[in-house]
């Protein structure tokens, strides 16, 4: 996984409450191989009309935001299903960080697995940032993950919240399975004791 430290990039303002994963990627695309380019499916039904033509008024279709690597939104971003395809779509489109006034637990955890930062800022700050970006489309924000700071183009700094373990995983870009496998012996010991304690779970013909 690519490591994330500091990113300075165009930010797209998309202030909405409760953006769900069905919006981020409609279910019908989750049967496609990753090689199909999930970036094309991001916000598909918002970005494109019934005839598949792009809706020029949708933020990511505007020339100023086509290269956006940061998305800003409202509370409870990424609610709904567990589909990791939502994160694949963001990442494949080029989004490396989402700033929002809140995230669904599952979504932010999926993001951390894929090198995408979920930065939580208070709702009024998020609204202000969005207004600023709307008045000068295409301007950049800086996300400094080690210092947990968002810096606006006019130099104002905001401290954001992020879960500490997700933060260190994103900075290291390390593979979580490799980390866990360092605990292999502990897992084996745990399992042996657990089987003794709850032997019926491991009855023959059931789980073994």
């Amino acid at each position: 996984m690519e490591s994330f430290t500091v990113l300075k990039a165009v930010a797209a303002p998309f202030y909405h409450a409760d953006v769900d994963t069905d919006e981020l990627i409609p279910h019908r695309f989750l049967r496609k191989p990753l090689s199909a380019g999930y970036g094309n499916f991001l916000f598909h039904d918002k970005r494109r009309g019934p005839d598949e033509r792009e809706d020029p008024s949708f933020v990511l279709n505007m020339p100023a935001y086509r290269q956006a690597q940061i998305l800003i939104s409202g509370p409870n971003f990424g609610c709904g299903s567990t589909r990791e395809g939502a994160v694949y779509a963001l990442r494949d489109f080029g989004i490396r960080a989402v700033i929002a006034s809140g995230f669904s637990d599952i979504f932010s955890s999926n993001c951390a697995q894929n090198g995408v930062v979920c930065a939580t800022l208070p709702d009024p700050v998020v609204r202000n940032l969005c207004e600023g970006l709307e008045s000068s489309p295409g301007s950049e924000l800086t996300i400094d993950l080690p210092n947990q700071q968002v810096v606006s183009s006019d130099g104002v700094t905001y401290r954001f919240e992020i879960d500490s373990s997700r933060k260190s995983r994103l900075i290291d870009g390390r593979d979580e399975i490799d980390v866990t496998l360092k605990h292999r012996d502990e897992i084996a010991q745990f399992e042996a004791a657990y089987m003794k304690r709850l032997p019926w779970l491991f009855q023959a013909g059931r789980v073994t």
């Binding site: 279910h27 637990d105 599952i106 697995q113 019926w200 789980v207």
Partner: protein, 468 residues
Amino acid sequence: MPTTMLRKIIDLHTVTRSGDGDLLLYVDYNVVHEGPFYAFDGLAREGRDILRPLQTVAFADHYVPTTGRARGSAGIRDAEARGMVERLQSNAQRTGIVHYGIDHPQQGIMHVVAPELGMTHPGMLIVGSDSHTCTNGAFGALAFGVGASQIKHILATQTLWFKAPRAMRLTVNGELATGVSAKDLILAIIARLGIGGGSGSAIEYAGHAVRALSMEARMTLCNMTIEAGARAGMVAPDEKTYEYLRSTPYAPQGAAWEQAQEFWASLPSDPGAEFHTEIEMDGSKVAPMVTWGTSQDEACGVDETVPDPASFADPGRRARATHALAYMAIEAGTPVSNIAIDRVFIGSCTNARLEDLRAAARVADGHRARIPAIVVPGSRTVKREAEAEGLHEIFLRAGFEWRDSGCSMCTGSNGDLVPRGERCASTSNRNMEGRQGKGSRTHLMSPAMAAAAAIAGRIVDVRPLLRS
């Protein structure tokens, strides 16, 4: 120290903890559907093995058709959907995980089949590739959904890094009225908490009205906990739990049963255990609920009128409701029980168990549907049991279609879609824009209410029908 059930289950499964305070938890069962093929692909690419194949169970449910099942996967016309079903099968065969495929006599929706086979026991940690894995919490298990990367992690290590959620207890006092079901209760709960209201929490449901629910009704309750943003929902095990489990194929056998039951009885939260949040509700005040918007918290009683978005204090909710009403093509102030419906879907992991079908059949019996209505049992077992009782005949006589089991019109991934612009009374769990098909409009409600809507061609209060 008095301890919550949540904490007891977490402690029981903790292997170790990280410097950041994350817990490495041992997973009893990993349940997957066709969706997380990325996880199997990733393992193969990285050359990793599956540590405990018999603790992963795979279910073909999202992409299976609900008609024309005689030829199994070969009969799936849509090549991509067929590919999803066959890919799960080949991944299962290759890796040795347990597989309930399209032809299996116990095939069905993962959250219906796992509990029905007795795989879910009190105290277990069950993680799945689907957010409604929280259904299993009805047994006093800790159960929740994760994304494909974490499924891959469980496949490789049988463990998961986890941040303990806060414990919330939601006590429902009183009794639910006739015609009011667990579906109405959970819709009322979500309306109260909001779709982000449970964020960061696991909810333990307690109180008289919850204890009075059957196991199937408890599953409906826990199923939609995710729609309030909570990580998991759970109900403490009791005699009903044991009674339900006793006859299931995966139940502990012989002397192990006594041993297991003794352990299960130690799980409920201790008196005096502290919860981060406590909420109380009066169950007797809950009416049959209907969603009018495109979020699960945009719901009200069937005897109410659609609220005016201007009445919401929160600007975010106001904007969301305004947008929702435009999408739904409903005006504020419309009486809910006047909304005309185009079709009905009775199914999904929320409401496609035997009791749900009984409740719908009771309403449909002797009447005739005015609009297309499909009944999709949650599993082939449910279908067989319903047929043994003759429920299918009631539905067929009333003009409802009687289908084969799967997720079907809940999300339409198998092609069972609500056409653009149509309004569907649905017993499923999500009503977002386009959930049942692009441009579809969903009203969530209970099975009895959905059956009543099929007969009336509009949303109606089922309570008078049940009294007559």
